[in-house]
Amino acid sequence: MTQKSVASSVYEWVDERLGLSELVAFARHKTVPVHSQTFWYYWGGISLFLFLVQCFTGVLLLVYYRPGAEAYESVRQITFVMHFGWLIRSAHSWSANLMIFSIMVHMFSVFFMKAYRKPREFGWLSGMALLGLASVFGFSGYLLPMDELSYFATKVGLQIPVAIPFVGAAIANMLRGGPEVSEFTVQRFFALHVVVLPALFLPLLGFHLWLVQRHGNAAPPSVEALPPEQRKSMPFMPNFLRKDLAMWLISLNILALLASVFPWTLGKPFDSLAPAPAGIHPEWYFMSPFEMLKLLGFVFSGKYAEFGEIAGILLFSLGIMLWVLIPFYDTRKPTGQRARATHYFGLLAIFALLATTILGYWTIR
């Protein structure tokens, strides 16, 4: 048998059992709309790529990381002793941040293209859940090196759940494994970070991707309003896929550049008795909620302070609820026009996020 016929008979054998050719036929028919905003379609793919990088580098870090009392020492070894350990660690940290950034870009582009409307409600909901999980990934991962900064930032971060009435303190204690951030906290966060969160994230991601395959990319309302003969599209295979992969490659380059030119450093080992160093602040993606709560704390100071915290949490939860539930009240209009009100809600959300984040960084100093 020639090489070619071996390959094709292997393919046939597998195809008979798994139905590969259906998949191929499906992929061949899938198209992606082409319009002035096609650029934003790439961000979901970029997020996926960065997640894959996280899995790969995460597993490598897992090989040497030891949670608990030796956490700091093991990260020190990874950073300073293992060959290229610093690179893997830097890539993991940078890619985590870039992933959350690109998920946010993806979310806002979906929002403004109104891609959450029927039949894509589940896509939006699962996407929001993925973003939520990603930020918990970030929060739990941040503590793992147990250096000074991560220790105090986590300590401050765990103050937020405390503000929840009745159950807040209990939740915080459960996360900490005691009244203080300690070795037990690292152990718990580690379990969360490498077992619980992936176990939730992966099936959800699968569901999200399946939905995307099922419904395809949504075109923005302005394009949908066009008569069919004026809408342009390109085949997913191979045109869009090729461009998608090019984007992945560019993301990889940016990641490599950041990780090797600005390697993630390691601070001093934490010392729970030392005073908190100046300028402790949460990671950038938590800056906005952190700052909003702080602002509300100012508004209701003195004896209303406690009330202010509760009000803050309530207000915040309400805002998030409104955001998550958007597909259910911004439904498809018969004219295909966009709804102005939600559009402004989106702009307001971006403005609030940016303003509070900038204010947060401004006031650290």
Binding site: T79, F80, V81, M82, H83, F84, G85, W86, L87, S90, N239, R242, L245, A246, L249, I250, L252, N253, A256, L257, S260, V261, P263, T265
Partner: protein, 463 residues
């Protein structure tokens, strides 16, 4: 020590050279590569049998050559002059050595440079005006002249990293110029020349991709396909030969400098310490991406290849070039001219004399007004450390010394002064030269900056 110190706060003077140089290298290597690309492409077009494709190719080449003329003859020359200003101010001592040692080399360089400029102008303005064969000849003259500018400057650049034993033996005797050819064909001359030639060819290809990506695929699909594919081929030699050339180059560099590369494999240390390794990684990954994009997006699918793809490739090429030049600079530390002159302009053999007679005694441009320990320390800092460190910006002293007290700073400076053979900082820092008094003055100044006294600022030393 015959020149004033040039202080650039925050950025550091090294970066002024760096920024201009990366820009200049990118353009001048494109000028050399393009010098080969243009006549080769023109010759290929002239041999085409189909008159229509031939005319389309020539038209495309004429427009590419306009772009080429503007980029190389305007931006290339201006940035080249910029480098002279920058190195003259930052490394006056080294610049003087290079000029004196290579008088004849510079003369040749400028002759070829003038020929290059004249022919590129003639080449551009005579499309369709003179006999095509003569026009092609002008192109070849340009190509040869620009190749020679590289062949010559490469000798001088490589000399700075590896001057070679023969030259070192006569350095400082006044007979340096007698070893001109030894200094010129120094140990890294050939690997460096071949490396740079490869880079030139790929840059010619990359820039040609930019102009050919703009051909309208709907109107001229055949032209776009052939132009894009032919331009991609210019990237091939580099990517085949580059890894081997880099290894060869690396082998020719002194062992103490090689150590800088392996240093970064297993440690990031405080900062730029392991920069060479990290830059090497950047070069590898960007080059691999360029290959990928050039093959899949350009060669396999030339009609879909658009300007933004081409810009992405250009950007990656810029990053790779920048990283390459940066690592070459880092490899040279702590010298500006290998084994002969430290980055701060101190000649290796004069260290003992300065240690005896004092650093400031030999600095002719230090103010003589206030003579406090503080201001003497500041002058020493500017002169000896300022070429690599700033107070708050690049390699910031305040940050690098944070947490150390006066005694600790003093012993650090003393360690730099004693420069024992096993001191780890020898790999990238020159010795601190001067008398015991100088050591104290510098330590006082640094201590004052790092641990400012709470009282209002005074300009006298706190002894």
């Amino acid at each position: 020590m015959n020149y004033p110190f040039w202080e650039i706060p925050f950025l550091g003077s090294g970066w002024v050279i760096g920024i201009i140089a990366i820009f200049h290298v990118m353009i001048s290597q494109f000028a050399v590569g393009g010098g080969l690309y243009l006549p080769m492409a023109e010759r290929k077009a002239m041999r085409m049998t189909d008159p229509e494709t031939r005319a389309a190719w020539l038209k495309q080449l004429a427009s590419h050559s306009r772009f080429f003329l503007v980029v190389t003859a305007v931006f290339g020359t201006v940035s080249g002059v910029g480098i002279w200003f920058a190195i003259g101010l930052t490394h006056p001592e080294a610049t003087s050595t290079l000029i004196h040692n290579f008088v004849f080399g510079w003369a040749m360089e400028w002759v070829f440079f003038l020929v290059e400029l004249a022919t590129v102008a003639v080449y551009y303005y005579t499309w369709d005006r003179i006999d095509p064969k003569l026009h092609l000849k002008v192109g070849w003259v340009y190509g040869v002249a620009s190749a020679f500018t590289l062949i010559i400057i490469n000798g001088i650049l490589a000399f700075m990293l590896t001057p070679g034993d023969t030259w070192i033996a006569v350095a400082g005797t006044g007979q340096e110029a007698s070893k001109f050819w030894n200094a010129f064909f120094n140990p890294t001359y050939w690997p460096s020349l071949l490396l740079r030639t490869c880079v030139c060819c790929s840059l010619a290809g990359v820039w040609a991709l930019i102009t050919s990506s703009r051909i309208d695929a709907d109107k001229q699909p055949a032209l776009k396909t052939s132009m894009v594919q032919w331009s991609v081929k210019w990237l091939v030699p580099s990517f085949v030969a580059m890894p081997f050339l880099m290894i060869w180059y690396y082998m020719m560099v002194p062992a103490s400098q090689q150590a800088l590369l392996t240093l970064g494999i297993d440690t990031i240390n405080a900062g730029t310490f392991s920069a060479v390794t990290r830059m090497a990684l950047v070069i590898i990954i960007t080059s691999a991406t360029i290959v990928g994009v050039a093959y899949y997006l350009a060669y396999r699918n030339p009609l879909d290849f658009n300007l933004s793809h081409a810009m992405a490739v250009l950007l990656l090429a810029l990053i790779a070039t920048g990283a390459g030049e940066y690592s070459r600079e880092m490899l040279r530390k702590p010298y500006v001219i290998g084994r002969w002159m430290y980055s701060n302009g101190v000649r290796v053999p004069s260290v003992a004399r300065i240690n005896q007679e004092g650093y400031l005694t030999h600095s002719n441009w230090v103010w003589s007004g206030s003579d406090s320990s503080y201001s003497r320390g500041e002058a020493i800092f500017r002169g000896e450390c300022g070429s690599c460190h700033t107070m708050d910006g690049y390699r910031p002293m305040r940050q690098l010394l944070a947490g150390r007290d006066r005694a600790n700073i003093g012993s650090f400076v003393l360690m730099l002064h004693d420069y024992k053979p096993d001191m780890p900082y020898r790999r990238f820092m020159p010795p601190m030269v001067g008398t015991q008094q100088d050591v104290n003055d510098l330590s006082d100044y640094l201590n004052f900056q790092v641990n400012p006294p709470a009282a209002p600022r005074v300009l006298t030393a706190q002894k």
